[in-house]
Subunit: 270 residues, 2 copies
Amino acid sequence: MDGSAHRIDRTSLATARDVRLACRAGKFSGATSGLAPGFAQANLVVLPADLAADFLRFCQRNPKPCPLLGVSEPGSAQLPDLAEDLDLRSDLPGYRVWREGELVAEPESIADWWRDDLVAFAIGCSYTFEAALLAEGMTLRHVAAGSEVPMFRTNIDCAPAGRFFGKMVVSMRPLRPADAIRAIQITSRYPFVHGAPVHLGLPDAIGIADLAHPDYGAPVAVLPDELPVFWACGVTPQAVIAAMRPPFAITHCPGRMLVLDLPDHRCAVL
Amino acid sequence: MDGSAHRIDRTSLATARDVRLACRAGKFSGATSGLAPGFAQANLVVLPADLAADFLRFCQRNPKPCPLLGVSEPGSAQLPDLAEDLDLRSDLPGYRVWREGELVAEPESIADWWRDDLVAFAIGCSYTFEAALLAEGMTLRHVAAGSEVPMFRTNIDCAPAGRFFGKMVVSMRPLRPADAIRAIQITSRYPFVHGAPVHLGLPDAIGIADLAHPDYGAPVAVLPDELPVFWACGVTPQAVIAAMRPPFAITHCPGRMLVLDLPDHRCAVL
């Protein structure tokens, strides 16, 4: 789906706004990893206003998987603090539409599904901390392979809030121990893009039976001199939606993120 | 040796100065762990002045095992920035005297060995970061057991400087993965007391064949849901002295530290 759906050369998408406008014009529907380098991207969750307060509280209670970068006014498709000239209904490369916890469509625009009572949540994305790890000189295997990071549903319960409950989804990156320690230090500076890892080294302990079979993304090898390092993942809300089955929800399509005008360095608290 | 050597009740040693004066009076020669809580302790290395410049450079190149808290003037037994009314020749509970890399004596005072050309180095000690981990609510198994932390010689070469070379010694604390991550964050704030771990999870990778047989200290169990976490250790200079065999050296006796007036919190950079 990725390659064939491109109707514009990725190299022409220099800025975050270029990406958004290409999506809006129907000219780009691919993965956003590597686009607009130096700027943050976001996971998207859209819910009816009567669920918004519960989900806000859910995010507050689960800052590692659901660090909130921004929340829209009800009915508004804009996030003026995060992106100029934004239309959330069209400016992502791909969306998922959910009814009662079932995926019912994967459109390139949600204009036909938009309602005046919808509230949009922009949740931090690991691309920002991955850029910091790559800048440190680390090799990230899924980046080297050009594949999507492997993600796993865990046995870790998110803290429930109102109607929202579910298991945490984590992304996994294999690192040598000294790099894992450095990665913990670096990602600790970025709590708004998932922050420090939630686990490392013992996948069984968080309910992951087989690292070769991720629930989302593509598998990568963990070499004998490496530890699997697990970060909370912004796909968690999609597992929560599948678990608690709200009447209606929209999310981004994994890997097809909302590209923001927010510089990566602004996501560091330190 | 520990219990029988006490000639004063540990509970009467409220301050760092109390400890130093009791040592000086020949009334205390026990382990210093837990004494003068809230204040830092130090590893001691004493070398002839003609080796001091090389050792200073060795410490600068190896800040994880050898973080320097203070260096004396040649011939001076004082470290006025670190402890009031200090006499380094008597104020530690126990010393080791080395000739050509061989341990030749373990006296309670080094007055008889003192020379006008000696330079003393005070090197940060893990007790400060252990206090921070305990304050976080973590259990440290060797503390719970009342035993000395297990220490291991590794296959990690220290960066050489002049005549000084040797392998890094590490201390090991077993922690559950989430606690290990938090411990990395906490100890990263304390670079002058060894800072963040140097390794975790794969002892073989740093040349440790058997966690049940430490080279110094007492063994502790690593449970199936825990990872062994390894910090650079201030005993490293003693392994270096044994390797490079200087004509003369004095160190503290492991566990019998120099107790300082320096508050633990002053050791945090953040």
